[in-house]
């Protein structure tokens, strides 16, 4: 491959489909004729339920909208398009769904035949249990203990977080469009840059700065297109929206976003060190960055695993309290309702949680304000149990007993809670994050299954 002096990558959205990409800045970006169109479509930010229950949180139509823009523009120009973490979770069913959407869109737009590569990131729970039995240490991240067989057995679905490797492999195989399973966001962008011979540190930095699209620009405005340019000496990032700019401050500030430390980013195969990055205003809308370092992993590469395990079915109840005596004694009201759940469900698996809005419903144990004097409160009751029938009953007792709270000085003996509707509502099942771990591998591709098909007419 002849060595390019620079490469331009377009990113329209920090989470494809989560909210539709904005069109104006996208089409301005398309005019720049980028070499690649890259976008991440998933996150573990959305909690464990989507992964566990294998469902998207983004409406199907929004996902189609964003894929359509990218497909039409990239195919018209004849350059590759790369998507990672398909359909919010990057599970196999979401990859299949995106492959299907691409095929349908290709037909709809009469796009000439092209190579559609895709890879799966799911790792069977049994595979992980087998590794544990063989003595492989699956190391916990962020203060978690190492994975145990019991915790693995409590898991319903696991995805491995791909590095650059499956993307590079599919580009090598000639893919025009790549639909990825769960992937590390920066790697979707780093893969093409690395493959075209750009330095490792700058390639990963390019991905790091681009993965949230216009979040690295100012003024604040999400879902707007940016273009990242990599040379052999620096990375430049440019806002496409007419009113946004990538400034030294906005780009430096973005290094902090959604991570505990602004200096380091771990990816499969190494660590991006941004401690000595320097930023300069390149032109009005562009910031240039130099100085990132990349420290390759010594020994076996470690791949991150995310896993979700089901706790139970879930129903939600909503109640309001207005009597100042009850507001002041809401803990006792809840204690009563809890005792009634316990009485009925004693010895049976269940959980009941009371979220008290007006007190600490948002912040829970982090809420420092303990002397607030609200005039009314909203209580959301979360009832969880193995079956839907039981979860319904847990939430129903928890809600209805707020209405029958037995407190000594209650004046309002006709009911101690107000309901919009005297019902409880089915919600998604409750899951929890069981895995936030890393597993050592001999080959960075070994957890990912790579496939190639065709689309178009």
């Amino acid at each position: 491959m002849s060595k390019k002096e620079q490469l331009k990558i377009l990113c329209p959205n920090g989470h494809l489909g989560f909210a539709p990409s904005k069109e104006e800045s996208f089409w301005i970006g398309v005019e720049e004729k980028p070499d690649y169109y890259c976008c991440d479509s998933g996150s573990n930010d959305i909690g464990p339920t989507p992964l566990g229950a294998d469902q998207s949180v983004s409406p199907y139509e929004w996902q189609v909208h964003d894929l359509e823009m990218l497909l039409v523009a990239s195919r018209k120009q004849g350059v590759p398009m790369l998507i990672g973490s398909s359909g919010d979770t990057g599970s196999n069913s979401r990859v299949d769904m995106y492959v299907d959407i691409i095929k349908k869109l290709a037909e709809k737009h009469n796009i000439p035949k092209f190579k559609l590569g895709y890879f799966y990131s799911e790792v069977p729970v049994e595979y992980v249990i087998q590794k544990l039995k063989e003595g492989v240490v699956i190391e916990g991240l962020d203060g978690r203990p190492n994975l145990t067989i019991e915790e693995a057995e409590a898991t319903d679905r696991i995805v491995a977080v791909a590095g650059v490797h499956p993307f590079m492999k599919l580009l090598d195989m000639g893919a025009d469009v790549i639909i990825g399973g769960r992937s590390s966001d920066p790697c979707i962008f780093a893969a093409p840059a690395l493959r075209e011979g750009f330095p490792e540190a700058l390639s990963y930095y390019l991905g790091k700065v681009m993965e949230c699209a216009s979040f690295c620009a100012e003024p604040y405005g999400a879902k707007e297109t940016i273009i990242g340019t990599i040379t052999h000496d620096e990375v430049r990032v440019t806002a496409m929206h007419p009113k946004q700019r990538c400034t030294v401050e906005s780009v430096a500030a973005h290094a902090m976003y959604e991570r505990s430390n602004p200096f380091y980013e771990h990816v499969a195969g190494g660590l991006l060190d941004m401690t000595n990055c320097s930023y300069r205003q390149y032109d009005e809308k562009t910031c240039a960055i130099t100085g990132p370092k990349f420290i390759p992993t010594e020994g076996q590469i470690k791949i991150k695993l995310e896993g979700a395990g089901k706790i139970g079915e879930r129903y939600i109840g909503i109640a309001g309290i207005r009597d100042p005596y009850l507001v002041a004694n809401v803990d006792k009201v809840i204690e009563w309702a809890k005792s009634q759940v316990e009485e009925r469900f004693k010895g049976r698996e269940h959980q009941v949680h009371f979220h008290v809005y007006g007190k600490n419903g948002v912040m829970g144990d982090l809420e420092p304000m303990n002397n607030a004097q609200p005039h009314e409160l909203c209580i959301v009751v979360e009832g969880i149990a193995p079956t839907k029938e039981e979860a319904y009953e847990v939430a129903m007792i928890g809600s209805r007993q707020l209405f029958y709270a037995r407190l000594p000085e209650v004046k309002g003996t006709a009911g101690t809670a107000a309901f919009i509707i005297d019902e409880v509502f089915p919600a998604s099942p409750a899951y929890r994050w069981t895995l936030n771990h890393v597993i050592p591998v001999n080959d960075p591709l070994e957890l990912f299954q790579i496939h190639m098909t065709e689309a178009g007419v």
Binding site: D45, I46, G47, S260
Partner: protein, 108 residues
């Protein structure tokens, strides 16, 4: 010496998940001067932020003064992962409010 509320010195005060097990807080100042003044005031330190949110020091995973962005950033471990039953903020994005009213002593 007067005091000014942090909200009047910062252009961004936010919180967000940093993975499923942590919540991270970013305070980005509206000028280098304000940033330096807050650093010098020692009103935001590992000790003051853990005290503000009433969490033990073991729950603080990082505390960084980030000069390139004129920002102070710190991160807490969650007591249970994001989206677990009972969690009221799946994204961790509404945990920053107590920071806004922190009084910063400023040299006049």
């Amino acid at each position: 010496m007067k005091t000014v509320k942090l909200v009047d010195l910062a252009k961004v005060i936010r919180s967000k998940n940093a993975g499923p097990d942590k919540i991270t807080f970013d305070i980005i100042f509206n000028s280098r001067e304000n940033y330096e003044a807050v650093k010098a005031s020692k009103a935001l330190t590992p000790e003051t932020v853990t005290k503000l949110f009433n969490v033990p020091m073991e729950r603080l995973s990082d505390f960084v003064e980030f000069d390139p962005a004129c920002a102070i950033k710190f991160t807490f471990y969650r007591t249970s992962p994001s989206g677990s039953p009972g969690d009221g903020d799946v994204f961790g994005c509404q945990q920053y409010a107590p920071l806004m009213d922190v009084e910063i002593p400023i040299q006049e």
